[in-house]
Symmetry: C2
Subunit: 155 residues, 2 copies
DNA sequence: TCCATTCCAAGTAATCCTATATGATTAATT
DNA sequence: AATTAATCATATAGGATTACTTGGAATGGA
């Protein structure tokens, strides 16, 4: 994946983040079958497959094939940030002016000025935010909202 | 314009902001013809027309038709924020999960949790940032980068 | 009147998004 | 070994969006 543009959140990013939180909440140490996530979150299973294919290749989830197989998080929820997930599914989380990335744009142009003063600051602000949130935070928040005990994770 | 989704910056937003800064920098009180902006900023004039049509209808620029006509900012640069420009051209600057806007999504769902914890925070962060920057800031920054005296304020 | 300029309405080609569908592969269970 | 539950890999198609282009009408200054 080579995109650097983004910042529109497509269903890939939104579904993917939801599915990852679902996984964090519902995996009791074992594997979770895709269809169960798709069912709970009301997302097309076929489509989710593609999302998970991307997540797996990026090393964010691990899979086990065959009967009783499924997916698990590849790391502790506290080590997986929202930013990492979005970046994998949406491309680099940056507000870039493509044209000013192209070589040859003068350092003195208005374009460059806007890039530095606006786009780059937006990019930094967004990245700081999403990198500060982990799946653990979201799973805890979800449990809190539902008044459920905060189960400890398997080591 | 009814969009609420966004956060992808299209050329409308990028060209429009550039053109507005150009206008702030190059209008010496008079009107500026579109073709001159298009030329300086290397943007298709025909396309810029559409952008300015939107800006005009939103009251951010004023136009004068006929020979020697052109555009001017509708207000002082210090009163026009980057946020206002982007909002007009791109729609509301928010990271919304369309599906969770649809009625009927449970308050307890993971979806809702993500909306509150992630999308809404991103939205707030972005809006605070773009609303804190004005055309005056950008014009000054541009002049500073080019080592030019800041005519409006230092003379 | 001529011409520069804004204004307006459509059309369009390309790209991206969002799925859906199909079939292959893998591995646990029976 | 056969069955079954699951992932894995592509292909494709409709729709939406983007980024323009085209053609002309209206306006007003010289």
């Amino acid at each position: 994946m080579d995109r650097v543009i983004l910042v529109k959140l497509s269903t890939k990013g939104r579904y993917g983040l939801r599915a990852m939180v679902d996984l964090a909440v519902h995996s009791g140490g074992g594997h979770v079958a895709l269809y169960s996530i798709a069912e709970r979150e009301n997302i097309s299973e076929n489509y989710l497959e593609q999302v998970f294919s991307t997540l797996r290749k990026a090393g964010l989830v691990k899979s086990v094939k065959g009967a009783q197989g499924g997916y698990t998080l590849a790391d502790k929820p506290s080590n997986i940030t929202v930013g990492a997930i979005l970046r994998v599914l949406e491309g680099n989380l940056s507000v870039v002016d493509e044209d000013s990335e192209a070589s040859g744009i003068g350092e003195n142009s208005i374009q460059h000025c806007i890039k530095v003063a606006v786009w780059d600051r937006m990019t930094e602000s967004l990245n700081k935010l999403v990198d500060s949130m982990t799946l653990e935070d979201l799973a805890n928040e979800y449990r809190r909202m539902n008044g459920k005990a905060n189960l400890m994770y398997y080591i």
